[in-house]
Protein backbone atom coordinates (compact mmCIF):
# COMPACT_ATOMS: atom_id res chain seq x y z
CA UNK A 1 0.00 0.00 0.00
CA UNK A 2 2.69 2.47 1.08
CA UNK A 3 4.56 1.48 -2.01
CA UNK A 4 1.66 2.37 -4.28
CA UNK A 5 1.03 5.68 -2.61
CA UNK A 6 4.70 6.55 -2.86
CA UNK A 7 4.67 5.55 -6.52
CA UNK A 8 1.63 7.73 -7.12
CA UNK A 9 3.23 10.68 -5.34
CA UNK A 10 6.42 10.16 -7.33
CA UNK A 11 4.40 10.22 -10.52
CA UNK A 12 2.55 13.37 -9.51
CA UNK A 13 5.64 15.26 -8.39
CA UNK A 14 7.41 14.32 -11.61
CA UNK A 15 4.25 15.33 -13.46
CA UNK A 16 4.42 18.76 -11.81
CA UNK A 17 7.94 19.28 -13.13
CA UNK A 18 6.62 18.31 -16.55
CA UNK A 19 3.79 20.79 -16.13
CA UNK A 20 6.14 23.67 -15.32
CA UNK A 21 8.20 22.60 -18.28
CA UNK A 22 5.29 22.41 -20.75
CA UNK A 23 3.03 25.30 -19.73
CA UNK A 24 4.86 27.85 -21.85
CA UNK A 25 5.27 25.51 -24.79
CA UNK A 26 1.58 24.66 -24.97
CA UNK A 27 0.60 28.33 -24.84
CA UNK A 28 3.02 29.54 -27.49
CA UNK A 29 2.25 26.63 -29.79
CA UNK A 30 -1.50 26.69 -29.22
CA UNK A 31 -2.07 30.41 -29.23
CA UNK A 32 0.71 31.83 -31.37
CA UNK A 33 1.42 28.82 -33.56
CA UNK A 34 5.10 29.18 -32.67
CA UNK A 35 6.98 25.91 -32.66
CA UNK A 36 9.89 26.47 -30.32
CA UNK A 37 12.34 23.59 -29.87
CA UNK A 38 14.65 25.84 -27.84
CA UNK A 39 12.14 25.24 -25.06
CA UNK A 40 14.25 22.30 -23.91
CA UNK A 41 17.22 24.65 -23.48
CA UNK A 42 15.25 26.77 -21.03
CA UNK A 43 15.25 23.82 -18.62
CA UNK A 44 19.00 23.43 -19.05
CA UNK A 45 19.66 27.15 -18.56
CA UNK A 46 17.42 27.27 -15.48
CA UNK A 47 19.22 24.29 -13.96
CA UNK A 48 22.74 25.47 -14.79
CA UNK A 49 22.22 29.06 -13.63
CA UNK A 50 20.93 27.72 -10.30
CA UNK A 51 23.86 25.32 -10.05
CA UNK A 52 26.55 27.88 -10.89
CA UNK A 53 25.20 30.68 -8.70
CA UNK A 54 24.67 28.44 -5.70
CA UNK A 55 28.15 26.99 -6.16
CA UNK A 56 29.51 30.52 -5.94
CA UNK A 57 27.74 31.19 -2.68
CA UNK A 58 24.55 32.87 -3.85
CA UNK A 59 21.50 32.20 -1.69
CA UNK A 60 19.40 29.44 -3.28
CA UNK A 61 16.16 31.43 -3.42
CA UNK A 62 18.03 34.23 -5.19
CA UNK A 63 19.59 31.72 -7.56
CA UNK A 64 16.14 30.43 -8.45
CA UNK A 65 14.98 33.96 -9.15
CA UNK A 66 18.03 34.59 -11.30
CA UNK A 67 17.42 31.34 -13.17
CA UNK A 68 13.89 32.42 -14.02
CA UNK A 69 15.06 35.85 -15.16
CA UNK A 70 17.91 34.43 -17.23
CA UNK A 71 15.61 32.01 -19.06
CA UNK A 72 13.01 34.72 -19.57
CA UNK A 73 15.76 36.75 -21.22
CA UNK A 74 16.71 33.75 -23.39
CA UNK A 75 13.04 33.53 -24.28
CA UNK A 76 13.00 37.17 -25.35
CA UNK A 77 16.01 36.61 -27.60
CA UNK A 78 14.49 33.50 -29.20
CA UNK A 79 11.22 35.36 -29.70
CA UNK A 80 12.99 38.14 -31.58
CA UNK A 81 14.87 35.58 -33.69
CA UNK A 82 11.57 33.86 -34.52
CA UNK A 83 9.86 37.02 -35.77
CA UNK A 84 10.97 36.75 -39.41
CA UNK A 85 9.79 33.13 -39.70
CA UNK A 86 6.15 34.21 -39.72
CA UNK A 87 3.97 31.14 -39.49
CA UNK A 88 6.35 28.78 -41.25
CA UNK A 89 6.75 25.82 -38.91
CA UNK A 90 9.61 24.30 -40.89
CA UNK A 91 11.72 27.45 -40.59
CA UNK A 92 10.80 27.71 -36.91
CA UNK A 93 11.87 24.12 -36.35
CA UNK A 94 15.23 24.58 -38.06
CA UNK A 95 15.95 27.90 -36.40
CA UNK A 96 15.03 26.88 -32.86
CA UNK A 97 16.74 23.52 -33.16
CA UNK A 98 19.88 25.40 -34.20
CA UNK A 99 19.62 27.73 -31.23
CA UNK A 100 19.17 24.70 -28.96
CA UNK A 101 22.56 23.38 -30.10
CA UNK A 102 24.20 26.80 -29.73
CA UNK A 103 22.98 27.02 -26.14
CA UNK A 104 24.03 23.42 -25.46
CA UNK A 105 27.56 24.12 -26.71
CA UNK A 106 27.78 27.37 -24.78
CA UNK A 107 26.71 25.48 -21.65
CA UNK A 108 29.33 22.82 -22.30
CA UNK A 109 32.03 25.50 -22.49
CA UNK A 110 30.86 27.44 -19.43
CA UNK A 111 29.74 24.66 -17.07
CA UNK A 112 31.53 21.66 -18.50
CA UNK A 113 30.27 18.19 -19.27
CA UNK A 114 29.97 16.71 -15.81
CA UNK A 115 26.46 16.19 -14.51
CA UNK A 116 25.52 18.99 -12.12
CA UNK A 117 24.04 17.96 -8.80
CA UNK A 118 21.44 20.58 -8.07
CA UNK A 119 21.04 21.92 -4.55
CA UNK A 120 17.93 21.74 -2.39
CA UNK A 121 17.16 24.17 0.40
CA UNK A 122 17.97 22.76 3.84
CA UNK A 123 14.43 22.91 5.15
CA UNK A 124 13.27 20.64 2.34
CA UNK A 125 15.80 17.91 3.13
CA UNK A 126 14.49 14.68 4.54
CA UNK A 127 10.96 13.34 4.72
CA UNK A 128 7.61 14.33 6.09
CA UNK A 129 5.41 11.92 8.05
CA UNK A 130 2.20 11.61 6.04
CA UNK A 131 0.69 9.05 8.42
CA UNK A 132 0.72 6.16 5.99
CA UNK A 133 4.27 6.79 4.90
CA UNK A 134 7.25 9.10 5.17
CA UNK A 135 7.66 11.01 1.97
CA UNK A 136 10.47 13.32 0.74
CA UNK A 137 9.69 16.93 1.56
CA UNK A 138 11.24 18.22 -1.62
CA UNK A 139 8.87 16.22 -3.80
CA UNK A 140 5.90 17.52 -1.84
CA UNK A 141 7.29 21.00 -2.40
CA UNK A 142 7.34 20.33 -6.16
CA UNK A 143 3.69 19.30 -6.04
CA UNK A 144 2.84 22.51 -4.20
CA UNK A 145 4.77 24.68 -6.65
CA UNK A 146 3.22 22.90 -9.65
CA UNK A 147 -0.32 23.23 -8.35
CA UNK A 148 0.33 26.83 -7.30
CA UNK A 149 1.59 27.65 -10.78
CA UNK A 150 -1.41 25.92 -12.35
CA UNK A 151 -3.70 28.01 -10.14
CA UNK A 152 -1.86 31.18 -11.09
CA UNK A 153 -2.07 30.39 -14.80
CA UNK A 154 -5.77 29.51 -14.55
CA UNK A 155 -6.38 32.76 -12.75
CA UNK A 156 -4.48 34.58 -15.46
CA UNK A 157 -6.38 32.89 -18.29
CA UNK A 158 -9.86 33.20 -16.82
CA UNK A 159 -9.75 36.28 -14.62
CA UNK A 160 -7.51 38.80 -16.33
CA UNK A 161 -8.23 40.71 -19.51
CA UNK A 162 -4.91 39.63 -21.04
CA UNK A 163 -5.86 36.01 -20.33
CA UNK A 164 -9.22 36.46 -22.02
CA UNK A 165 -7.45 37.97 -25.01
CA UNK A 166 -5.18 34.97 -25.16
CA UNK A 167 -8.21 32.65 -25.21
CA UNK A 168 -9.80 34.80 -27.90
CA UNK A 169 -6.64 34.36 -29.99
CA UNK A 170 -6.87 30.57 -29.52
CA UNK A 171 -10.52 30.65 -30.63
CA UNK A 172 -10.05 32.76 -33.76
CA UNK A 173 -6.70 34.50 -34.27
CA UNK A 174 -7.82 36.59 -37.19
CA UNK A 175 -10.99 37.79 -35.51
CA UNK A 176 -8.97 38.59 -32.39
CA UNK A 177 -6.98 41.05 -34.48
CA UNK A 178 -10.29 42.25 -35.89
CA UNK A 179 -11.42 43.46 -32.46
CA UNK A 180 -8.16 45.27 -31.75
CA UNK A 181 -6.01 42.65 -30.05
CA UNK A 182 -2.33 43.04 -30.92
CA UNK A 183 -1.16 39.45 -31.27
CA UNK A 184 2.55 40.33 -31.27
CA UNK A 185 2.54 41.93 -27.82
CA UNK A 186 0.48 39.07 -26.45
CA UNK A 187 2.79 36.52 -28.08
CA UNK A 188 5.91 38.22 -26.71
CA UNK A 189 4.60 38.30 -23.14
CA UNK A 190 3.40 34.70 -23.33
CA UNK A 191 6.67 33.55 -24.79
CA UNK A 192 8.87 35.28 -22.22
CA UNK A 193 6.74 34.21 -19.25
CA UNK A 194 6.56 30.65 -20.59
CA UNK A 195 10.34 30.58 -20.93
CA UNK A 196 10.72 31.81 -17.35
CA UNK A 197 8.45 29.07 -16.04
CA UNK A 198 10.41 26.46 -18.01
CA UNK A 199 13.52 27.92 -16.40
CA UNK A 200 11.90 27.36 -13.02
CA UNK A 201 11.21 23.76 -14.00
CA UNK A 202 14.95 23.39 -14.60
CA UNK A 203 15.92 25.11 -11.36
CA UNK A 204 13.56 22.97 -9.29
CA UNK A 205 13.18 19.86 -11.41
CA UNK A 206 16.86 19.48 -12.15
CA UNK A 207 17.08 17.88 -8.72
CA UNK A 208 14.94 15.01 -10.03
CA UNK A 209 15.96 14.83 -13.68
CA UNK A 210 19.55 15.94 -13.38
CA UNK A 211 21.34 18.63 -15.35
CA UNK A 212 23.82 17.38 -17.93
CA UNK A 213 24.59 17.77 -21.62
CA UNK A 214 21.65 16.26 -23.49
CA UNK A 215 19.03 16.88 -20.83
CA UNK A 216 17.70 19.70 -23.02
CA UNK A 217 16.73 17.25 -25.76
CA UNK A 218 15.41 14.76 -23.26
CA UNK A 219 13.04 17.25 -21.62
CA UNK A 220 12.09 18.71 -24.98
CA UNK A 221 10.79 15.28 -25.91
CA UNK A 222 8.81 15.10 -22.66
CA UNK A 223 7.39 18.58 -23.20
CA UNK A 224 6.31 17.87 -26.77
CA UNK A 225 4.62 14.64 -25.73
CA UNK A 226 2.81 16.41 -22.87
CA UNK A 227 1.61 19.15 -25.22
CA UNK A 228 0.41 16.65 -27.80
CA UNK A 229 -1.31 14.47 -25.21
CA UNK A 230 -2.87 17.41 -23.36
CA UNK A 231 -3.80 19.46 -26.40
CA UNK A 232 -1.93 22.58 -27.52
CA UNK A 233 -3.10 25.86 -26.06
CA UNK A 234 -4.70 24.56 -22.91
CA UNK A 235 -3.29 24.95 -19.39
CA UNK A 236 -5.75 22.34 -18.11
CA UNK A 237 -4.61 20.04 -20.90
CA UNK A 238 -0.95 20.55 -20.02
CA UNK A 239 -1.76 19.72 -16.39
CA UNK A 240 -3.67 16.57 -17.36
CA UNK A 241 -1.05 15.57 -19.93
CA UNK A 242 1.76 16.08 -17.40
CA UNK A 243 0.11 13.89 -14.80
CA UNK A 244 -0.67 11.20 -17.39
CA UNK A 245 2.89 11.16 -18.73
CA UNK A 246 4.27 11.38 -15.18
CA UNK A 247 2.24 8.31 -14.25
CA UNK A 248 3.07 6.33 -17.36
CA UNK A 249 6.75 7.13 -17.07
CA UNK A 250 7.05 6.45 -13.34
CA UNK A 251 5.07 3.22 -13.44
CA UNK A 252 6.96 1.86 -16.46
CA UNK A 253 10.31 2.72 -14.94
CA UNK A 254 9.28 0.92 -11.76
CA UNK A 255 8.22 -2.29 -13.52
CA UNK A 256 9.82 -2.37 -16.95
CA UNK A 257 12.50 0.32 -17.17
CA UNK A 258 13.44 -0.67 -20.71
CA UNK A 259 9.98 0.25 -21.95
CA UNK A 260 9.88 3.82 -20.59
CA UNK A 261 10.17 5.62 -23.92
CA UNK A 262 8.05 3.02 -25.63
CA UNK A 263 5.16 3.43 -23.18
CA UNK A 264 5.29 7.21 -23.39
CA UNK A 265 5.08 7.21 -27.16
CA UNK A 266 2.49 4.46 -26.99
CA UNK A 267 0.25 6.77 -24.98
CA UNK A 268 0.94 9.57 -27.40
CA UNK A 269 0.08 7.38 -30.34
CA UNK A 270 -3.12 6.21 -28.69
CA UNK A 271 -4.17 9.80 -28.01
CA UNK A 272 -3.29 10.89 -31.52
CA UNK A 273 -5.41 8.09 -32.92
CA UNK A 274 -8.40 8.44 -30.62
CA UNK A 275 -8.38 12.17 -30.01
CA UNK A 276 -5.94 13.97 -32.33
CA UNK A 277 -6.53 17.38 -30.72
CA UNK A 278 -5.36 16.06 -27.34
CA UNK A 279 -7.22 15.74 -24.05
CA UNK A 280 -8.34 19.36 -23.88
CA UNK A 281 -7.10 20.96 -27.06
CA UNK A 282 -8.72 22.14 -30.23
CA UNK A 283 -7.38 20.94 -33.55
CA UNK A 284 -4.31 22.76 -34.80
CA UNK A 285 -4.92 24.31 -38.19
Amino acid sequence: MDYWIALLLNAISFGMVLFLLSAGLTLTLGTMRLLNLTHGSFFLVGAYVTFELERHGVDLALAWGAAVLATALCGAVVFVLLRPTGEDHLRQTLLTFGVLFVIADAALVIVGGDPAILPRPGFLEGTLDLGLLDYPKYRLFLVAVGLGMAGLLFWFQYRTRAGMMLRAVVDDPEMARGVGINPTVLAAVTFVVGAGIAGLSGALGGVLLGAFPGVDLQVLLFALVVVIVGGAGSIGGALAGSVVIGLVNTVTIAFAPGLALFSMFGVMLAILTLRPQGIAGKALA
Binding site: R161, M164, M165, R167, A168, V170, D171, D172, E174, M175, A176, R177, G178, V179, G180, I181, N182, P183
Partner: protein, 231 residues
Amino acid sequence: MILQANDVHTWYGTSYVLQGTSIEVPESQCTAVLGRNGVGKTTLVRTICGFTPPGRGEVRLRGERIDAMPAHRIVRQGLAVVPQGRRVFKNLSVEENLQVAAVDRARVAEVWERFPRLHERRSSVAGRLSGGEQQMLAIGRALVTDPTVLVLDEPTEGLAPAITESLLGMLQELKRSGVSLLLTEQSVGFALALADTAYVMSSRGQIAYAGTAAALAADASVQEKHLGVAV
Protein backbone atom coordinates in the same frame (compact mmCIF):
# COMPACT_ATOMS: atom_id res chain seq x y z
CA MET B 1 -16.60 60.52 -47.39
CA ILE B 2 -15.85 58.72 -44.18
CA LEU B 3 -14.63 55.57 -45.94
CA GLN B 4 -13.35 55.02 -49.47
CA ALA B 5 -11.94 52.09 -51.37
CA ASN B 6 -10.17 53.35 -54.49
CA ASP B 7 -9.50 50.82 -57.21
CA VAL B 8 -8.53 48.01 -54.85
CA HIS B 9 -7.10 44.77 -56.22
CA THR B 10 -7.01 41.82 -53.84
CA TRP B 11 -5.49 38.37 -54.13
CA TYR B 12 -5.74 35.19 -52.07
CA GLY B 13 -2.30 33.86 -52.86
CA THR B 14 -2.36 33.65 -56.63
CA SER B 15 -6.14 33.79 -56.86
CA TYR B 16 -7.03 37.26 -58.17
CA VAL B 17 -10.42 38.10 -56.68
CA LEU B 18 -11.06 41.85 -56.52
CA GLN B 19 -10.01 43.27 -59.86
CA GLY B 20 -10.38 46.98 -59.27
CA THR B 21 -13.20 47.83 -56.86
CA SER B 22 -14.14 51.36 -55.81
CA ILE B 23 -16.82 52.33 -53.30
CA GLU B 24 -17.55 55.33 -51.08
CA VAL B 25 -19.35 55.43 -47.74
CA PRO B 26 -20.81 58.84 -46.76
CA GLU B 27 -20.84 59.80 -43.08
CA SER B 28 -23.78 58.73 -40.92
CA GLN B 29 -25.44 56.93 -43.80
CA CYS B 30 -25.87 53.32 -44.74
CA THR B 31 -24.18 52.04 -47.88
CA ALA B 32 -25.03 48.61 -49.21
CA VAL B 33 -23.01 46.33 -51.47
CA LEU B 34 -25.28 43.76 -53.06
CA GLY B 35 -24.33 40.78 -55.12
CA ARG B 36 -24.72 37.06 -55.60
CA ASN B 37 -22.73 34.45 -53.77
CA GLY B 38 -19.06 34.45 -54.72
CA VAL B 39 -18.79 37.84 -56.42
CA GLY B 40 -16.34 39.23 -53.86
CA LYS B 41 -18.38 40.99 -51.14
CA THR B 42 -16.58 39.29 -48.28
CA THR B 43 -13.24 39.87 -49.97
CA LEU B 44 -14.04 43.58 -50.11
CA VAL B 45 -14.85 43.57 -46.39
CA ARG B 46 -11.62 41.68 -45.64
CA THR B 47 -9.69 44.15 -47.76
CA ILE B 48 -11.14 47.12 -45.89
CA CYS B 49 -10.73 45.74 -42.36
CA GLY B 50 -7.15 44.59 -42.93
CA PHE B 51 -7.61 40.81 -42.92
CA THR B 52 -6.55 40.56 -46.56
CA PRO B 53 -4.85 43.84 -47.47
CA PRO B 54 -5.09 44.90 -51.11
CA GLY B 55 -2.12 44.25 -53.39
CA ARG B 56 -2.94 47.45 -55.22
CA GLY B 57 -5.18 50.44 -54.63
CA GLU B 58 -5.99 52.30 -51.45
CA VAL B 59 -8.46 52.32 -48.59
CA ARG B 60 -9.04 55.59 -46.76
CA LEU B 61 -10.78 56.22 -43.46
CA ARG B 62 -11.55 59.91 -42.87
CA GLY B 63 -9.12 60.57 -45.71
CA GLU B 64 -6.22 58.70 -44.05
CA ARG B 65 -4.72 55.63 -45.72
CA ILE B 66 -5.43 52.44 -43.76
CA ASP B 67 -4.67 49.82 -46.41
CA ALA B 68 -1.19 49.07 -45.06
CA MET B 69 -2.23 49.02 -41.39
CA PRO B 70 -2.54 45.78 -39.45
CA ALA B 71 -6.15 44.88 -38.64
CA HIS B 72 -5.81 45.56 -34.91
CA ARG B 73 -4.75 49.14 -35.60
CA ILE B 74 -7.54 49.75 -38.10
CA VAL B 75 -10.06 48.93 -35.36
CA ARG B 76 -8.43 51.56 -33.14
CA GLN B 77 -8.86 54.08 -35.97
CA GLY B 78 -12.61 53.60 -35.69
CA LEU B 79 -13.55 50.90 -38.17
CA ALA B 80 -15.18 47.81 -36.71
CA VAL B 81 -16.35 44.68 -38.50
CA VAL B 82 -19.18 42.23 -37.94
CA PRO B 83 -17.91 39.36 -40.09
CA GLN B 84 -19.82 36.88 -42.17
CA GLY B 85 -20.75 33.93 -39.99
CA ARG B 86 -20.48 36.23 -36.91
CA ARG B 87 -17.33 34.60 -35.56
CA VAL B 88 -17.98 35.26 -31.90
CA PHE B 89 -15.27 33.82 -29.62
CA LYS B 90 -17.06 30.55 -28.95
CA ASN B 91 -15.18 29.52 -25.81
CA LEU B 92 -15.49 32.92 -24.15
CA SER B 93 -18.56 34.02 -22.23
CA VAL B 94 -20.79 36.74 -23.67
CA GLU B 95 -19.31 39.23 -21.23
CA GLU B 96 -15.73 38.21 -22.06
CA ASN B 97 -16.45 38.61 -25.77
CA LEU B 98 -17.26 42.24 -25.05
CA GLN B 99 -14.44 42.77 -22.55
CA VAL B 100 -11.66 41.68 -24.88
CA ALA B 101 -12.79 44.20 -27.47
CA ALA B 102 -13.95 47.09 -25.29
CA VAL B 103 -12.05 50.37 -25.12
CA ASP B 104 -13.64 51.02 -21.70
CA ARG B 105 -16.26 49.67 -19.31
CA ALA B 106 -18.83 52.30 -20.17
CA ARG B 107 -19.06 50.85 -23.68
CA VAL B 108 -19.94 47.43 -22.31
CA ALA B 109 -22.68 49.00 -20.18
CA GLU B 110 -24.08 50.67 -23.30
CA VAL B 111 -24.29 47.32 -25.05
CA TRP B 112 -26.14 45.83 -22.07
CA GLU B 113 -28.63 48.68 -22.38
CA ARG B 114 -29.01 48.29 -26.10
CA PHE B 115 -29.28 44.50 -25.99
CA PRO B 116 -30.89 43.45 -22.67
CA ARG B 117 -30.99 39.88 -23.96
CA LEU B 118 -27.19 39.77 -24.01
CA HIS B 119 -27.10 41.01 -20.42
CA GLU B 120 -29.41 38.16 -19.41
CA ARG B 121 -27.02 35.72 -21.03
CA ARG B 122 -23.77 37.45 -20.07
CA SER B 123 -22.29 34.39 -18.32
CA SER B 124 -23.21 31.95 -21.08
CA VAL B 125 -20.51 30.58 -23.31
CA ALA B 126 -20.93 32.38 -26.65
CA GLY B 127 -20.87 29.13 -28.62
CA ARG B 128 -24.15 28.15 -26.94
CA LEU B 129 -26.10 31.21 -28.10
CA SER B 130 -28.71 31.05 -30.84
CA GLY B 131 -27.85 32.49 -34.25
CA GLY B 132 -29.76 35.69 -33.52
CA GLU B 133 -28.07 36.13 -30.16
CA GLN B 134 -24.66 35.52 -31.71
CA GLN B 135 -25.40 38.19 -34.28
CA MET B 136 -26.35 40.59 -31.48
CA LEU B 137 -23.11 39.72 -29.70
CA ALA B 138 -21.03 40.20 -32.85
CA ILE B 139 -22.60 43.64 -33.26
CA GLY B 140 -22.11 44.45 -29.58
CA ARG B 141 -18.49 43.32 -29.77
CA ALA B 142 -17.95 45.70 -32.68
CA LEU B 143 -19.74 48.58 -30.91
CA VAL B 144 -17.58 48.41 -27.77
CA THR B 145 -14.58 49.39 -29.90
CA ASP B 146 -16.34 52.75 -30.34
CA PRO B 147 -16.48 52.71 -34.15
CA THR B 148 -17.30 55.59 -36.46
CA VAL B 149 -17.77 53.09 -39.30
CA LEU B 150 -19.40 49.72 -38.78
CA VAL B 151 -18.96 47.13 -41.54
CA LEU B 152 -21.47 44.25 -41.56
CA ASP B 153 -20.88 41.28 -43.86
CA GLU B 154 -24.10 39.48 -44.78
CA PRO B 155 -25.68 39.94 -41.34
CA THR B 156 -28.98 38.24 -42.23
CA GLU B 157 -27.37 35.01 -43.42
CA GLY B 158 -28.92 32.07 -41.63
CA LEU B 159 -31.32 34.10 -39.50
CA ALA B 160 -35.03 33.40 -39.14
CA PRO B 161 -37.32 36.07 -40.70
CA ALA B 162 -38.51 37.33 -37.32
CA ILE B 163 -34.91 37.78 -36.15
CA THR B 164 -34.03 39.53 -39.41
CA GLU B 165 -36.88 41.94 -38.75
CA SER B 166 -35.57 42.87 -35.29
CA LEU B 167 -32.02 43.12 -36.66
CA LEU B 168 -33.31 45.68 -39.14
CA GLY B 169 -34.77 47.72 -36.28
CA MET B 170 -31.46 47.59 -34.36
CA LEU B 171 -29.43 48.73 -37.34
CA GLN B 172 -31.86 51.54 -38.14
CA GLU B 173 -31.46 52.78 -34.61
CA LEU B 174 -27.67 52.54 -34.89
CA LYS B 175 -27.77 54.58 -38.06
CA ARG B 176 -29.87 57.25 -36.34
CA SER B 177 -27.26 57.43 -33.58
CA GLY B 178 -24.75 58.61 -36.20
CA VAL B 179 -22.68 55.48 -36.95
CA SER B 180 -21.79 55.13 -40.64
CA LEU B 181 -22.73 51.70 -41.94
CA LEU B 182 -21.32 49.60 -44.74
CA LEU B 183 -23.39 46.51 -45.36
CA THR B 184 -22.99 43.61 -47.76
CA GLU B 185 -26.05 41.52 -48.51
CA GLN B 186 -27.63 38.99 -50.78
CA SER B 187 -31.02 39.89 -49.35
CA VAL B 188 -32.09 42.84 -51.47
CA GLY B 189 -35.18 43.65 -49.42
CA PHE B 190 -33.22 43.91 -46.18
CA ALA B 191 -30.45 46.00 -47.67
CA LEU B 192 -32.73 48.44 -49.44
CA ALA B 193 -34.82 48.94 -46.31
CA LEU B 194 -31.70 50.23 -44.57
CA ALA B 195 -29.41 51.70 -47.20
CA ASP B 196 -29.21 55.20 -48.63
CA THR B 197 -26.71 54.29 -51.31
CA ALA B 198 -26.36 50.95 -53.06
CA TYR B 199 -23.71 49.22 -55.14
CA VAL B 200 -24.25 46.06 -57.10
CA MET B 201 -21.24 43.81 -57.53
CA SER B 202 -21.22 41.47 -60.51
CA SER B 203 -18.12 39.30 -60.41
CA ARG B 204 -14.48 39.64 -59.38
CA GLY B 205 -15.44 42.79 -57.53
CA GLN B 206 -16.71 44.63 -60.60
CA ILE B 207 -19.21 47.32 -59.66
CA ALA B 208 -22.10 46.88 -62.09
CA TYR B 209 -24.34 49.51 -60.58
CA ALA B 210 -24.02 52.47 -58.22
CA GLY B 211 -26.81 54.79 -57.20
CA THR B 212 -29.32 55.61 -54.52
CA ALA B 213 -31.08 52.75 -52.84
CA ALA B 214 -34.40 54.16 -54.02
CA ALA B 215 -33.24 54.16 -57.64
CA LEU B 216 -32.05 50.55 -57.36
CA ALA B 217 -35.33 49.52 -55.76
CA ALA B 218 -37.09 50.89 -58.83
CA ASP B 219 -34.69 49.31 -61.34
CA ALA B 220 -36.05 45.87 -62.03
CA SER B 221 -33.63 45.06 -64.85
CA VAL B 222 -30.49 45.52 -62.74
CA GLN B 223 -32.00 43.49 -59.94
CA GLU B 224 -32.96 40.72 -62.28
CA LYS B 225 -29.64 40.66 -64.11
CA HIS B 226 -27.27 40.78 -61.15
CA LEU B 227 -29.24 39.76 -58.10
CA GLY B 228 -31.47 37.08 -59.50
CA VAL B 229 -34.57 38.75 -58.18
CA ALA B 230 -37.65 38.47 -60.35
CA VAL B 231 -39.49 41.72 -59.83
